[in-house]
Symmetry: C2
Subunit: 251 residues, 2 copies
DNA sequence: CAGTGGTCTAGACCACCAA
DNA sequence: TGGTGGTCTAGACCACTGC
């Protein structure tokens, strides 16, 4: 606001950016839930006292960031991991023989190996913007495709927002885990970043994936963020790549 | 055009999409070279007989696809791998300790291991949309960071567009290889897709990277495309991930 | 200063959907 | 049929660049 403080700040914010921020606030505050429609462009325009075109440009950017989905003739809806056409939006592992070509890895069998409350180690705390020793939820599970264990992943969640999450609730839930986070805990994952390495498994890891300790695996460390770039999940995955590969499109 | 032929085709093309196609054609035809400005929005509007806003929306999409770069007050320029802020746009390997945080892996020493003309094998031909036996150029090189061999890559180029490419010219060129393809051969890479696996190296590969044959490595197979999604390069890379990692942002 | 892209508006019309 | 998002236009004004 005061142009004296930040020299590198563009001392100018377009109207549509301000509108975008306002809509973002309402999304974060849960004024409209995932899957629900947000008010029409005309209604938002009159609410904020700007033209429809300005609201339109704001929503354009939200839609580009997958925060919102437009459907012609129906309205604009809060994006969700549940009913979304692209389920498992953040999972880039696809079968080598992808006949359909749609990157759909097919149905996965999920096995919860472990689920318990613990305290954040230094690196987990750093990734989740907590303090070391804070309460976290720790889950370990295996995903299998066609009976073949393929992904072993361990994930950490901050304890407070996910109070009440148990192994049983995880087991009972059908569909993407991120969809459960939305409907059960009101936490919507919006963005994620992954660091990928090639590693050899520890003996216990090898056993869970039914491979030898000499089998090279993809190590995928993901930090998923909710609104305002707040980190809400750390996930460390080990991917078998003998029948699958990690697919990435570089625009 | 004829709505009878294709049942699933949206028998409707917005004006700005048509304008986008026209601009794309000019880009492909080389009417404006990489780094050069394209005509102003007003000029394009009058050339195509549409309003400035329509041209604007067309250019918006081209800019979103990194085909073109807008610079306020100066004009709109054909994107290039050379002077682009993000050099090595397609290289996602970054140092584990990235102090600057800009993903800049720093200067690389390049060593050409091999460069020769050969004939396309079946899989190379399929990737490059050629026929098996067609002339291809085959290059093998090593990239080192701080004296440490980190990337071993082998790449195949279709023989015809790259007539005259030799090991010497590769060695002499400073800067990104894709920048050379632009200025020397008029081939601009626009999009790429990568398939990533974890593998163990062959003995010769291990020697070139100065690692043991038990060191897990990232296998990165990239197909790079020029305009109209035409494949123009197949690149198979082996990445050491003991001091670097592959970084990916999931929007 | 003139020329460029960037923002904002107001209004018209079209395509899609549901009741 | 009415409401939604999608397209297109025309014009005004702003911000940035270079001369």
């Amino acid at each position: 606001m005061t142009p004296a403080a930040e020299p590198t700040t563009p001392s100018f914010s377009p109207l549509y950016q301000q509108i975008k921020s306002l809509i973002l606030q309402s999304l974060h505050a849960g004024e409209w839930k995932p899957g629900e429609p947000i008010p029409s462009e005309i209604e938002l325009a009159s609410r904020y006292g700007v033209s429809q075109g300005t609201v339109r440009k704001a929503i354009d950017e939200l839609a580009a960031g997958n925060l919102v989905v437009r459907r012609q003739g129906k309205g604009t809806f809060v994006a969700t991991h549940a009913e979304q056409h692209v389920q498992y939006r953040f999972l880039k592992l696809v079968p080598d023989l992808d006949q359909a070509g749609d990157g759909d890895p097919g149905p996965a069998e999920r096995t919860i190996v472990d689920c318990r409350r613990s305290r954040a180690s230094a690196d987990v705390a750093r990734a989740l913007a907590l303090r070391a020793g804070d309460a976290v939820l720790q889950v370990q599970r295996v995903l299998s495709y066609a009976g073949r264990p393929t992904i072993l992943e361990e994930l950490w969640l901050p304890g407070t927002p996910f109070k009440g999450l148990t192994a049983d609730r995880l087991r009972d839930w059908q569909g993407p885990m991120y969809a459960m986070f939305e409907t059960e805990f009101g936490v919507r994952m919006v963005r994620a970043e992954e660091k990928i390495r090639a590693v050899l498994p520890q003996p216990e890891q090898a056993a869970l994936l039914q491979v030898t300790a000499q089998t090279p695996l993809l190590s995928v460390e993901r930090v998923a963020h909710t609104y305002h770039d707040q980190p809400m999940e750390l996930r460390r995955g080990l991917y078998r790549t003998d029948a699958h590969h990690y697919r990435n499109d570089l625009g």
